[in-house]
Symmetry: C2
Subunit: 333 residues, 2 copies
């Protein structure tokens, strides 16, 4: 296998891809050449306009993580960041105050925003930004169109009894501490895949769904019209890694999102949500954590080849081992 | 006198206005009440769009200087500034690299740009920004329209033998080290005065032309259609202070600009360029520095009441004394 495609959200997907690249370079992935090319199709439904700037959290987390610019403690934003702009905006009393942009990060958004306003598409802008970051992958936004995930939450003060907030407000301001009643992905049905995205699903030797959020990361990518059908028709094997470990998410808010869409919060639940290709789903293989070994029988019964291995991305070596297990599971197909 | 209007550029005008406010509050200005209100009409022809942000150097220098946010060493930009965005933009290789925006300063431009894009006029934006800065004056842009000073310089490689650059490029990148062949103020003839500007010239008790650049600061303000005529018809006395001291500018590039427009680079030259009101000009009084005492006789001969006093703005007290001399000169009118 010389070509690998990853459908990724932000932090989890970025860390997985870093480990995947590590594993490929070390020749650890069964059947995958050490110089295999990796394409990452990134979720853009978390994107937002803030202070007049176009911010793409998942693209940036991927770019910074793979380009060695990420703040490793936070897992998002830039290393050696400063926060002068945020301080000043707060002094001006400008909303939103809950979405803090670092100064170095703002430079990325300034370049992106100016390019978009000059007429370049997000995929072209991403390519331009990656010329600096050299992430070692081809990084594609899932679409060049504006798509935004919103979340409906209970609000006793609203006449309807609920309120709809941008995903970032749900996650960053509300810290996902209130139940999500519904997930609304605005613009998704009208979106078209960005250039290269469908080809990355078809003209590839392996597709990986990393342990990203199955609803608001991988789910929105798969929701871009044409994408799911193309993936199902792809000759390449598709393997996924469970973001649910020990019955909940490792980091993030997959639990809340799965609950909102009525999917069982378990490794088996997510695997069966993606579904076995044999029965009309997407997956040729599914990796669950050792703590969720009970999922293996349930998934296998549904025709989904499933393996339980350690799924904690503690470092690149551990993550590379996960990627190797994933590739191994479907290489035998 | 309870109302004073100043037509100001950036650094020189801002320092003068700070001293003027100091003098007024101390009761040092003959005939001017200690609670007199000051309106500053600011030049906006230096404004530029850079990295997608609307930057108004003169408005900002006035706002920061009078609002105690200025970097006193540089004389422009914010105190305790950080430069992370500039570093990053340079790493991205984004032009222009010669116009460095500080991080704190960028917050101002983000607020301004977003308000402009939401449909607010520059005068409204300026009022909003001043709510934070409380500059102690009413700060008005000369116009809400886009006006930009460009400078023609010799360029032996250009087919025409010359090249036109934005004023900021001439000043910041080229450091005004090459002769200016022509000054072109794009959009000036189509501009209309911002709300309140004409009233500030008419419904006032004193108009001061501070030692700002007579061509690209005061000159562009006076060039806004209707402004010069309104000032000439104003019942308020108009007094100016020479920006040329000892035969050249104190700081800035008044020498180069005056040369470009064919005005003698001397205290008398600038005074006669503004002209005595009695002979169709603007001024009722003109202050020159003691070193330029020879200008007194020349200006007086042309009907312009002129006085030689120390004109170095070394501190607020010295500047207040200049303002007091200016007010005194025309209070007797």
């Amino acid at each position: 296998m010389r070509r690998v495609t990853v459908l990724s959200g932000g932090m989890g997907g970025a860390r997985f891809t870093a480990g995947l690249l590590h594993g490929i370079a070390q020749g650890l992935l069964p059947g995958v050449a050490p110089d295999a090319e990796v394409t990452v199709v990134a979720n853009t439904a978390d994107d937002l306009w803030v202070h007049g700037l176009k911010v793409c959290p998942d693209l940036d987390t991927l770019m910074y993580t793979l380009g060695d610019g990420i703040d490793p403690e936070r897992g998002w934003g830039r290393r050696e960041e400063t926060w002068s702009v945020r301080e000043e905006l707060a002094t001006y009393g400008v909303e939103p105050t809950w979405f803090g942009l670092g100064d170095r990060d703002i430079a990325t958004h300034l370049v992106r925003t100016q390019m978009l306003e000059a007429g370049y598409r997000l995929s072209q802008v991403t390519e331009a930004l990656c010329r600096r970051w050299q992430p070692g992958v081809r990084l594609l936004p899932m679409t060049d169109d504006r798509v935004e995930t919103h979340v409906a939450i209970a609000d006793t003060q609203a006449p309807s009894g609920r309120r709809v907030v941008h995903f970032q407000e749900y996650w960053v301001r509300l810290r996902a501490e209130v139940p999500a009643e519904q997930v609304l992905v605005v613009g998704l049905e009208q979106a078209t895949p960005a250039p290269g995205v469908l080809e990355a699903l078809t003209d590839t030797d392996l597709v990986v769904l990393p342990p990203s959020n199955p609803v608001v990361s991988v789910g929105t990518i798969l929701g871009v019209p044409g994408l799911r059908d193309t993936l199902r028709a792809s000759p390449a094997p598709v393997v996924g890694l469970s973001p649910i470990v020990g019955g909940t998410h490792v980091r993030g808010m997959a639990r809340q999102m799965l609950t909102a869409v009525g999917v069982e919060v378990s490794a088996a639940g997510v695997g069966l949500h993606y579904g076995a290709r044999a029965s009309g789903g997407l997956l040729d293989g599914w990796l669950v954590d050792e703590r969720d070994a009970d999922a293996v029988a349930r998934c296998e019964t549904a025709g989904l080849r499933t393996l339980a291995v350690p799924l904690m991305m503690t470092d690149d070596a551990a993550t590379a081992a996960m990627a190797a297990a994933a590739a191994g599971l479907v290489a035998e197909r």
